[in-house]
Subunit: 371 residues, 2 copies
Amino acid sequence: MKVGGQHFRTIWLNPANEQVVQLIDQRFLPHRFVIEDVSTVAQMAIAIRAMHVRGAGLIGASAGYGMYLAAIEGAGSPAVAGFDQHLANAAAQLKATRPTAVNLAWAIERQSTNIAKGKTAEEKIARALDAAKDIAAEDEEHCRMIGQHGLSLIEQIARKRDGKPVNVLTHCNAGWLAFVDYGSALAPVYAAHDRGLPVHVWVDETRPRNQGSKLTAWELGQHGVPHTIIADSSGGHLMQRGDVDLVIVGSDRTTRAGDVANKIGTYLKALAAQDNGIPFYVALPSSSFDWTIRDGSEIPIEERGAEEVKRADGWRDGQMLEVSVAPEGSPAANFGFDVTPRRLVTGLITERGVCKADEKSILDLFPEHAS
Amino acid sequence: MKVGGQHFRTIWLNPANEQVVQLIDQRFLPHRFVIEDVSTVAQMAIAIRAMHVRGAGLIGASAGYGMYLAAIEGAGSPAVAGFDQHLANAAAQLKATRPTAVNLAWAIERQSTNIAKGKTAEEKIARALDAAKDIAAEDEEHCRMIGQHGLSLIEQIARKRDGKPVNVLTHCNAGWLAFVDYGSALAPVYAAHDRGLPVHVWVDETRPRNQGSKLTAWELGQHGVPHTIIADSSGGHLMQRGDVDLVIVGSDRTTRAGDVANKIGTYLKALAAQDNGIPFYVALPSSSFDWTIRDGSEIPIEERGAEEVKRADGWRDGQMLEVSVAPEGSPAANFGFDVTPRRLVTGLITERGVCKADEKSILDLFPEHAS
């Protein structure tokens, strides 16, 4: 998508040196646009864990590129005991960075299987490079398709709105910054906007890290999509007033039966949507399905540092500052995700189309996972 | 309640000069404990509007003292055209400060009626002083009684918990800082804690002004009550996990039929409580009932400045700083309250006892409002 009129993806290979991965360090948005060079697995693990990059698809793509960097390291470093051992260590290191996002494990396993098929170090590196590019390209294409499938949902609502904007509420950031490009939840919004449909987005600020007010607002603004930032507690009131036509969120992991893990607070919005008869959609590429589990209660929920809740960070006088909000002596807890049960989900928007959030409907779209 | 071991109320008359009202300027909590001297109606209007004081009961008590200051001004100032005109102006000025809290209008009307009965300026001032003290004393006593009635609810749950703490979730600040003393939602918690029952409070941070992480956490900490601050989005997940036994919130205005206006986000917690079979109680003194309306949709919802959502303030290097979180060009909206429909409310905890949230049950407790 566009940044200051120029097209960007969230992650790419340095065109001048393909042994270096470049990514947008999202910690500085919306105040500074920083590009980070990543050339080791250790750096990539930090970038994922410390959320220089975040979001389901981008975590997967970053892990894919991370395994490519691991292959380079494994072949080149004299200190490394063995190529396969280094790759296994790298896989474990990357996998441990974020527990909830299933794209992480998915990308790492895909790379491990793929690299193992190479016979020489050179072949392994070449395979790793190809797969890293493929993972990113597929993510991009799947998100583009999600946009097209979601577009028809927005078009249906737009027809009833007589030219008034379709009001979409979203939580956290499931835009292009959370993927390689386009996004999941925001892909239909961009598709509608680009098609000339009037659309307006209510952006949950998404405490404690404010991915909504920092990232979603920024990327919508860069692309010219009308939007309004709200506190996370506001969505229910807006739905009661009739000011929300549609909720679209992303997912960090969705079970084969349709239970949806996503940013903490998604469940509350799903309850409010149900209570007010508003459609609640989850947009996700198939890489965000966990085909191994049915029940959302089996999804591990990441707990992050309590300080994120007790403090707030932002920009002041040209620098990033953190301020202390809560009493020093008060404990805090910081749950990253919650699980929205499938009974609250109107439908899933995937790269293959829209389906109901139940196992049969999901497997009708993805029959290769039926066994 | 206690601050550093010393007993405080939130508002009182300066013992050395009863023409000056003193109050805790809550904008600086939890970082600094500031006492403000208020000696004019204009100052009191600023204190209420700019939220030096806030919370249903404290707004009412502040308005009561504000009308007392108006009586002094009306009698004393040669520039004032007439006593009654000055009082009417003061009433209008105070009433315009916050639109949602019904205690404001209630206290002002009580004072206006009361002052009008005085025949001389001296008599009017004396009546205003008495009523201001009465409003504050009643608020204190009503909150104390709410604590006693709510205590029995906590005791019932504690019996089933086998010595494990009773986990109470609350939203915003409906503690003693929101009233003259004791609080509404937190009064039962303090009563249980003082009785030796193990109780733990999940404190919603309550964006955008963070009354939870700033005020509720502070006052619970000062009184020694175990608590944990969480992002506003966390409550649903905690309820799904079985980590919440009871929700108690306050109310800025409750209709005679039991619809509850309270801090934005309360409705979402009520939905989650219902979805998880958790009791959801609203604690309020009778001064927070609006006896003139039945339907919560008639309650005006305050919209505050958008900057509160786009920025965060806190403490750093010994000073209060505001940092900018969101993109400068992104609009924001800031709704102060939402309405929780009575169907989601397990019960109301009032100074006269606990009742169901329906008109008949409410009027059984308050038959004087039956007509």
